[in-house]
């Protein structure tokens, strides 16, 4: 049984599972990880009027006075924004909101904290976005992909050792939308799961790809380090060839 810790933070739940035998150092790292996540929430939450991001958006705090991680996050956002042709944006509702990147980044950061403390075999799930580390190729982490139409069921299982998995989508049933230009059902996405190495990137790219809808397909095919699995509004699914899907035993 792995060591488990569940932390309610950032408006969601972060579950830590550690398979490395626990040490006092790893216990301390877990505490540090939890503290870090609460710090990130305090700095980046758009729900807290006193967070640095809220005050930065309101113009009552200058970027230079923000914590260095604010500049780091905004720089990372700018990279993804450029790579996704603006489908990822730090102003999704016209107001500064880097939330689309913060959770993945914070989770990858705490994964690094655990790894540095010796917990080389762990899995962190932050509200459905997952970062794993392991050196055990014969005992990979197994991650179920939630079925978008049937809560509690899965649509696929992916396995890997050092892997990031992020799913973007609505839990609502996708409607069949007719595109007036073609007269055919639009091929938007209901759910898009991306797999890569680093959750900061994978999570933000999943957000961007989902926003692209049907165009995500060609775009993702051009990203060499990313594999994808998608469910479309037309009730079909597609995946990239190297998507690490595992058939259930």
């Amino acid at each position: 049984m792995p060591e488990l810790r569940v932390v309610h933070v950032m408006g969601t739940v972060v579950s830590f599972a550690i398979r490395t035998p626990m040490s006092s150092q790893i216990h301390r790292a877990l505490d540090e990880a939890e503290t870090w996540l609460r710090h990130v929430d305090a700095v980046f939450s758009t729900y807290r009027p006193d967070s640095q991001i809220s005050r930065l958006a309101a113009g009552t705090l200058s970027l230079i006075r923000c914590a260095p991680e604010v500049r780091e996050v905004l720089a990372l956002c700018a990279d993804i924004e450029a790579e996704s042709n603006g489908h990822f944006t730090t102003t999704p509702r016209g107001r500064l909101d880097p939330s689309g990147l913060v959770k993945g980044w914070a989770t990858e950061t705490v994964s690094d904290i655990l790894y540095a403390a010796g917990a080389t075999d762990h899995c962190i799930n932050a509200g459905g976005d997952v970062q794993t580390r392991s050196s055990l190729r014969d005992a990979p982490w197994r991650i179920g992909i939630a079925h978008p139409h049937h809560p509690g069921d899965l649509t696929a299982i992916v396995t890997g050792t050092n892997m990031a998995v992020a799913t973007s989508g609505t839990s609502e049933r996708g409607e069949h939308i007719i595109d007036p230009h073609t007269g055919r059902a639009s091929t938007g996405l209901v759910s898009l799961t991306l797999v890569g190495r680093h959750l900061t990137r994978v999570d933000a790219l999943a957000t961007a790809g989902f926003a692209m809808g049907e165009d995500a397909r060609d775009w993702i095919a051009s990203l060499p380090d990313i594999e994808a699995f998608a469910i479309t509004t037309t009730g079909r699914a597609w995946q990239t060839p190297a998507f690490p899907v595992s058939t259930p035993a």
Binding site: T12, C123, G128, R142, H150, T167, G169, A221
Partner: protein
């Protein structure tokens, strides 16, 4: 239509370039590094053969390309309209284009299918949505460690499969 088809071939030279480049794909010398903008750039064209330029697409050797695909199934009558070609299986993968003719002129070309440099498109095929029910998973002992899904809230977590997994492990 024929003129339009030829125009299409020239317009979508990028596809031809891609097709023409394809034979070099397995050659170690062909450094077709994938990039967001696609590999059909000028650097990719500078292959050993040198003949893999855009002109290749309109030439006789490129006949298996888009020009073949765009010659059928008009979805509108007369000179104007949008025409979707059959998906043609070339040795490099399926190719399909859609052209829009307005006032007898080529107004738009949309590439519906094109084999990419790494052959991914062939495997980005549609399939039915797989479903692994909770019951089947339990019965099959298909162990999972965690669940990835659209972000759940603190409240949503309570009834989630992830919550059940956490409880099982705790």
């Amino acid at each position: 239509m024929r003129r339009a088809v030829l125009a299409t071939s020239a317009t979508v030279a990028g596809i031809g370039l891609l097709l023409a480049l394809k034979p070099h794909h397995n050659s170690p010398a062909a450094a077709l590094a994938p990039s967001p903008s696609g590999s059909a750039g000028p650097s990719g064209g500078a292959g050993p053969s040198g003949g893999a330029g855009p002109s290749g697409s309109a030439g006789p050797s490129g006949s298996a390309g888009p020009s073949g695909g765009a010659s059928s199934k008009p979805s509108a009558t007369g000179r104007n309209g949008t025409f979707t070609g059959d998906a043609i299986d070339t040795r490099y993968g399926p190719v399909q284009v859609q052209v829009t003719i307005k006032d007898g002129k080529l107004a738009a070309v949309k590439v519906l299918q094109v084999p990419s440099e790494n052959g991914r498109d062939r495997e980005l095929a549609d399939m039915a949505i797989p479903r692994l029910t909770r019951a089947a998973l339990a019965a099959g002992n298909a162990k999972i460690d965690t669940v990835s899904g659209a972000t759940y809230t603190s409240e949503g977590y309570v009834n989630s499969l992830q919550s059940a997994l956490d409880k099982a492990h705790a």
